[in-house]
């Protein structure tokens, strides 16, 4: 299956390119790079509504996260069937929390930090984008790699963490 005008989210910006999804895996090609995710590397695939259409999110067995957006709502059915038949994976539909609250629970999976609000993901940060972590009393701060071509880029995010919580917050980031 071929898809045009697909954006790969990297360093906070969208790199536009073409995507081919075939039985041995996913190939994304832009003028800058070619990305290959082999069939056997795919651990988890998710489908979510994002800023530009729908996003196909793939988590590799090594914990890398690939975020491709620009898919249409109507692509879901075909992609779901294809993932099921060829990769033996369910393309899980994920609903994001849009309540606008700032409290929740950080959850780590592979190199992905997901902030759950009201038990649903509100946002996700690929930890590869984090350049520096600072942990203080009740506070964890993340600084991000910058991209000069992005119109707007996220620089820093600070979290208030309760003292009673586990100290798991910074460990997965450092490793």
């Amino acid at each position: 299956m071929d898809f045009k005008e697909i954006g790969h989210i990297s360093r906070g910006t969208l790199e536009l390119g073409k995507m081919r999804i075939q039985s041995d895996g996913l190939i994304f090609k832009s003028s800058e790079k070619t990305l290959n995710v082999k069939h056997s590397e795919i651990d988890l695939a998710e489908w979510l509504r994002v800023a530009r259409g729908y996003e196909l999110k793939v988590l590799s067995r090594e914990g890398h996260v690939f975020k491709f957006s620009g898919f249409k709502e109507s692509d879901y059915g075909d992609l779901r069937d294809f993932f099921k038949q060829n990769f033996g994976k369910d393309l899980k539909q994920v609903e994001l929390c849009v309540k606008g609250w700032n409290w929740g629970e950080p959850v780590f999976k592979g190199s992905l930090l997901t902030f759950l609000v009201d038990s649903k993901p509100a946002f996700e940060v690929p930890l590869e984008e984090v350049s520096r972590v600072t942990a203080g009393k009740n506070e964890v701060s993340l600084e991000f790699h910058q991209n000069d071509t992005a119109a707007v880029s996220l620089m820093e995010m600070r979290f208030h963490v309760p003292t009673t919580g586990t100290d798991g917050e910074e460990d997965p980031v450092q490793s």
Binding site: G12, A51, E156, R158
Partner: protein
């Protein structure tokens, strides 16, 4: 005692969007991963790795901006336990065991024309829109409290 507690403002009663389908994803600024201020829903939409993340205006404590060279920096401070002062005194935080996003900083070009692909509002413009929305929201909340006596 019980009555006093129930009269305190509840943060969790503030909801920006009821369902993802209501998000203003057709707006150019949202699609282009810029910040966007939704006056109707009283929310600020932040671009976080491709996902439009709404923050309800009531969660925003204060914002600040600075300009350095060709960049504008926008810092958004959010309410969290330990930050309660002034206006938010007595607010019941819905879950003290939760983690809170307390601060977000963005960097943008300080002239909209520098934006790749052109268009889009600068972070200075966003700064003023957030301030304006905050003022509107706080005035309304104040009036509501006065009406309730």
């Amino acid at each position: 005692m019980q009555d006093n507690i129930s009269k305190r403002p509840k943060l969790s009663s503030m909801v920006a969007y009821k369902h993802p389908s209501v998000l203003p994803v057709r707006e150019n600024d949202v699609q282009n991963l810029h910040l966007y201020v939704d006056r109707k829903h009283e929310a600020v939409i932040l671009p976080i790795y491709g996902v439009p993340v709404p923050i309800h205006i009531s969660m925003i404590k204060n914002i600040s901006k600075s300009e350095e060279g060709s960049y504008t920096y926008l810092r958004i401070n959010l309410f969290h336990p330990g930050s309660t002062m002034g206006r938010m005194d007595g607010v019941v935080f819905p879950n003290p065991e939760a983690s809170f996003v307390k601060e977000l900083s963005f960097r943008g070009y300080n002239s909209a024309s520098n934006y790749l692909g052109g268009g889009g509002i600068s972070l200075v413009g966003i700064f003023h829109s957030i301030k304006e929305l905050q003022k509107k929201f706080r005035t309304r909340e104040q009036e509501k409290r006065e009406l309730e006596g």
